[in-house]
């Protein structure tokens, strides 16, 4: 039996895609395999670890327990949409600076979830960040540096400081 395909119209990181997918195709596989955006990671594949987190119309969701057809008509944001060219998003910049990652497996999900947390509350307390990222598992950092990175990014986003405009950027070049 030829698999049934279903038309979808989805905008990913500002780019519109009108295509047909098998209804059983998971959103994370659509992003990685059909659109060639492997930044979103596949982890536990049953909605527990959070590394597949993307934004659907601005709200964080688990793309491993969402069918691509459920994103029909929606805007999806993935980690690939964060940086502007070579200029990292303040969240990415601070994850780098504060060592908010080691193996990096959880990072795309952490970044997308952190974006939603800061959109809802631009000036969170450390406890609010901790509570907010409790949806996402990290097995390397012990979370402390992730919390520090999110708080530092919050400061910069509130101040409107441009990414990379800080003193210690030269250590990366």
């Amino acid at each position: 039996m030829k698999p049934q395909k279903h038309p979808i119209d989805v905008t990913v990181n500002g780019r519109r895609h009108s295509t047909e997918v098998e209804p059983r195709l998971l959103l994370v596989d659509f992003l990685r395999e059909e659109l060639g955006l492997p930044g979103t990671h596949v982890g536990c594949e049953h909605g527990v670890c959070g590394t597949c987190t993307v934004l659907l119309d601005g709200a964080s969701i688990r793309s491993c327990i969402t069918f691509a057809v459920q994103a029909d008509g929606a805007e999806v944001s993935t980690v690939e949409g964060l940086a502007r060219g070579a200029e990292l998003h303040p969240l990415q910049d601070e994850f780098w600076d504060k060592q908010g990652l080691q193996c990096g497996y959880c990072t795309p999900g952490m970044l997308m979830r952190a974006q939603e947390i800061l959109a809802a509350n631009p000036d969170p307390t450390p406890e609010q960040v901790r509570e907010g990222i409790s949806s996402n598992l990290c097995r390397c950092t012990g979370y402390q540096f992730i919390v520090e990175a999110v708080l530092a990014a919050a400061d910069r986003l509130r101040d409107g400081t441009a990414a990379g405009a800080r003193e210690n950027t030269e250590v990366r070049s």
Binding site: Q4, R24, H46, G47, G50, I61
Partner: protein, 294 residues
């Protein structure tokens, strides 16, 4: 990990969805709401429906409104929307508090109130909250709508009164007349990891009339095959002073008739002890909130 293949429909109306469920009965169709319970089961191939009827385009199922004495929540309303709703905060804050304990925000952003209740996980928070609130569930099938009390709707683990060709469309929560009394609520639970399913959860509502409890409602998860009401404890509280002795007696009464089955997460005795403790905590919090209310 891939779900097995299935046929897929996206009806635009409830009537169309019901027709699809009946027309594809041989394929053992399932309703897709937010998918946050069903899709993990399909990823594991523990669920293999031959046909999914996706409700996402049925706009009428996403709403929060007041209808006379009831707060009415459309079955497809996202949990995060209900959690943040000012109407729910006023009319049924217990439900918002229960949702805040259900998984994590990314799950609640897609997960729906109706999907959670229709899935009927025995450890889930929302069925217990709806049970404590004397909620009613509206189901639509080929013969039209029918209204089912929450206590009759919850049949067992992952089992409800919904027929195969019926669709849960609305959750109706009666608004209590609190004139002259002070109302308090609490949903508390024990889980090993924040955001996990609760091992034991307790929903409590109290109404204080002067120095007496006029009415109490208690529902528990984790001690029976479904969420259950603790009627004996409610009777023990009615007319009593809201003091530690009454709360302790209610906690004893709440667990007296239960015989929880132990599993890998917690044994029967652990569940009983936890239930007693969490009934007490829920009542303490509900009573203190009722007292603080101006």
């Amino acid at each position: 990990m891939k779900p097995p293949p299935f046929a897929y429909s996206v009806p635009a109306t409830v009537a169309e969805a019901v027709e699809l469920l009946a027309a594809h009965a041989d394929a053992e169709p399932r309703v897709l709401a937010g998918g946050q319970s069903l899709i993990p089961l399909m990823n594991f191939r523990l669920a293999q429906p031959g046909h999914l009827v996706d409700l996402r385009n049925i706009a009428e199922l996403s709403s929060i409104r007041l209808d006379g004495d009831a707060l009415v929540i459309g079955a497809m309303t996202r949990q995060s929307e209900v959690e943040r709703s000012p109407e729910v905060a006023l009319a049924a804050p217990l439900l918002a508090e229960a949702i805040g304990l259900a998984a994590h925000p990314p799950i609640r952003n897609l997960g729906t109130v109706g999907g959670n209740i229709a899935h009927a996980d025995p450890a889930a928070e929302l069925p217990a909250a709806v049970l404590a609130l004397d909620g009613e569930l509206v189901a639509v099938g080929p013969d039209g709508p029918r209204t089912i009390a929450a206590a009759d709707f919850l049949r067992g683990p992952f089992s409800t009164a919904l027929a195969a060709d019926e669709l849960l469309t609305e959750i109706r929560l009666p608004r209590r007349d609190l004139a002259g009394v002070r109302g308090g609520y609490a949903f508390v639970e024990f889980s090993r990891v924040h955001g996990n399913f609760a091992i034991v959860g307790v929903a409590a509502l109290v109404e204080l009339d002067g120095d007496r409890i006029r009415r109490a409602a208690l529902a528990l998860t984790g001690v029976a095959p479904t969420a259950i009401r603790a009627h004996a404890a409610e009777r023990a509280l009615t007319g009593a002073a809201p003091d530690p002795a009454a709360v302790a007696a209610a906690a004893e009464a709440a667990v007296a008739g239960t015989s929880p089955s132990g599993d890998v997460h917690a044994g029967a005795i652990t569940r009983t002890v936890l239930a007693r403790t969490y009934v007490r905590r829920a009542l303490d919090l509900a009573i203190s909130r009722a007292r603080d209310e101006r």
